[in-house]
Subunit: 351 residues, 3 copies
Amino acid sequence: MPTTTWNRHHILSLADFTPIEYDTVLKTAASFREVLSRRTKKVPALQGQVVANLFFEPSTRTRSSFELAAKRLSADTLNFTSATSSMTKGETILDTAKTYLAMGCDIMVIRHKEAGVPNAIASELDRLGERVSVLNAGDGQHEHPSQGLLDLFTICTLIDPLEPRLELLQGKKIAIVGDILHSRVARSNIWSLTASGAEVHLAAPPTLLPKWFADFVNDEDITGEGEAVAKEVFVPSPIPKRKLFIHWNLEPALRDADFVMTLRLQKERMTANLLPSLREYHQLFGITRSQIKHCQPHVKVLHPGPVNRGVEISSDLMDDPEFSLIQTQVTSGVAVRMALLYLIGSGKATG
Amino acid sequence: MPTTTWNRHHILSLADFTPIEYDTVLKTAASFREVLSRRTKKVPALQGQVVANLFFEPSTRTRSSFELAAKRLSADTLNFTSATSSMTKGETILDTAKTYLAMGCDIMVIRHKEAGVPNAIASELDRLGERVSVLNAGDGQHEHPSQGLLDLFTICTLIDPLEPRLELLQGKKIAIVGDILHSRVARSNIWSLTASGAEVHLAAPPTLLPKWFADFVNDEDITGEGEAVAKEVFVPSPIPKRKLFIHWNLEPALRDADFVMTLRLQKERMTANLLPSLREYHQLFGITRSQIKHCQPHVKVLHPGPVNRGVEISSDLMDDPEFSLIQTQVTSGVAVRMALLYLIGSGKATG
Amino acid sequence: MPTTTWNRHHILSLADFTPIEYDTVLKTAASFREVLSRRTKKVPALQGQVVANLFFEPSTRTRSSFELAAKRLSADTLNFTSATSSMTKGETILDTAKTYLAMGCDIMVIRHKEAGVPNAIASELDRLGERVSVLNAGDGQHEHPSQGLLDLFTICTLIDPLEPRLELLQGKKIAIVGDILHSRVARSNIWSLTASGAEVHLAAPPTLLPKWFADFVNDEDITGEGEAVAKEVFVPSPIPKRKLFIHWNLEPALRDADFVMTLRLQKERMTANLLPSLREYHQLFGITRSQIKHCQPHVKVLHPGPVNRGVEISSDLMDDPEFSLIQTQVTSGVAVRMALLYLIGSGKATG
């Protein structure tokens, strides 16, 4: 394992990640990806430590990915899901977290349907002077930092498999398409990708964009021919040169794009009036073979999964290894989560 | 562990199992049963490998049995059950399987309420050139091969504990009683037991037999005194001498039987008109002390569990160790599943 | 680990625990608490053994606590919860337990909503001549012995961290407050605390006391000024000097108390007419800063969790480390459960 300096105790958001931190995660994940290609995929790095997966919202892939990452670092795991919990008995979330703290867990991986829960738990642990780390595994519509980092790792390793690093994305055009409004994945990716110096282009129907984006898109910007609206957005940040463009049409976002990230349409969260129909959504914002002709010939498509086939992306494109990085993202997920658990866990050991 | 040749990559069905394969499983399971009698019941055979239990249908014993088998081979396990999964979010089963594939699972143990799902996943993995193995843990009314093999192992070890092998069943009479129509356990057992050269006698009410069996049972075969109908059925197979007899009454199936397998009555699947009442079913097809008097004195009774006491079998007979092999079947299950995981996992290592 | 004599095969109740057994548990748990303060918190004591957590009633903390204790002893664990089980298929509880027995589990940790289930399973295992141990993790309103022991350990280690032992509680006054009627925690604590020679004072509204306590409380004992009713109760037991006092008011139970245990109000189990309102309950029996002024200045408050904040205890008192032992109880829980699994598991090894 690489010897690196890592001072971050909790991983809650990518908003204040520094370029050095991004590069440390990428480098560490690359070394774990190498471990995963061996016959024996385990390392003893976190032996004797306990990783508690506290999932107050159900999840297949993220929970399994963290569990597998922890096991491959030789940690013990405890799984908590709200369905089989005391939450029905009226205990507060903070009390549940403190119970796992008192049991002696070293790292808590927390998912919750409300934004801010992992932060609140982390703050409380800090206030109590505890050394337990919190890893945000998705909180409401706020952030999903490990997803943002695995997407970053997936893209960077495609460009340079041996030495993935942030600067590789300088000047690349990346489109993020779909339900931006409800997407914690989009939030985390906007932070990491703009930090890299890439041009990030969001494309969504106006009803699926956060309200604060409206400040950057005025009615008069829409041309008569349905041409795209694009504006440069400067995000307040220690990292210069963040560039974010917003479009109400798909085509200008895709034009000459190097990478396209399409987002899951959260059917279960959306009310009917945000969207006329799934069919119309697919016609306007679905990624298909015909649509990606606007992109660079080498374009690759990402999706955080699970995919609604034929809605966000056409089924054949999703399964085409020439264009789809969806399986690679899942594989990257285990390596990146091993890296995060390792960096947090080792940081604690030397602290 | 025995050094054996094993070329089968997936275990989906017993229909095309060869005598050598049966004997390899029996021999390997016997060596693991010896391991399980030691104080430390673990071997490092699959250290660093990951076994994913993908149970799209709930199960107590089969899931726990596979999980324990995997842990005793020192594999890591991931449990997926549909209740806490993305299936509610609209992802396809194939996509779920591919997600676990991309995470780096080595073996997928799959149960699904629809026949053919494990085969479909295995085909897709093969098409993709992946080396991950699929083990069918029960698919709809199709097959349950690990149950068929553990039943075979249970019977053979009773005859020769040190060297269980297929030929031991040559000429034995084995009755399979009950809900043949809905039973994947019956399907798998019919393949393994007929392959051994045993005489397999099915007994069920006509409504609980598959329609294709009707070809072998004609009205004129029913004698005036309610005597049994029996016909020899030749199954197309590379294995000669498969003998299958079908009865609409219990008694002729039990007559001089060496082993009786009674099947779970799938109460939750059956519609009312297949069966007048549980009470009448028990009177006609329930295995009781009085019924087993028709069998050989040394007869043993099996049931795949969970048992509806007083329906498929009388409660006192089930608990009588002189006749009941039900507990032994569960114990055999762990040894046989260790054998299957080991044979598949080791095959992969050398491939 | 200490070399101790331990002959108890199952842990079902504290009713017949001997002083030597209490002291052995306390001493063993103290040595494990020391293990838990190390960086690597695992010991190989139960390597190769299997602990099955059979939870027929959902639970967060107790299930996780046992699972973690087992993993820290290097045992493998199997989790069973009724939600994903065969119970819906009509199998009896005893048959479920026998299935896990036949799989080769070494220890069964059992929780059930009905009193007596763990005892029934233990009796059946003994009748069958099996060496598998049963550990009662809470059965209906009967007992929760591991909770009683962890409460005892929490109190004793506060008095003497290095050598916790039963005699330290001699002459201490301990109040148990709240829903005694429905509380298995109260039952177990009454046995352990009276065995120590402490004065145990129960305080509850008459509707939340078991009926048999009414024999000890007569109408004429209630004074005109609402003064407390207290009676000494002699429990038939091999341990002399058991003292139990019963109060219908909070104040006399708290007066000069060294420790106050407040019980969870089982909202979901209670019918409306046992209690006017949660608000009134809190006013009469809730533990608050103003109420604990009646106690010794060094008083500490315990609660088995999960807590209904503002009902059984005021929120600020619960979070005040000067008074609250609630987090310490959870930490003690892991050490005590390691001790119980170790004592049972090692006893089996030498038997």
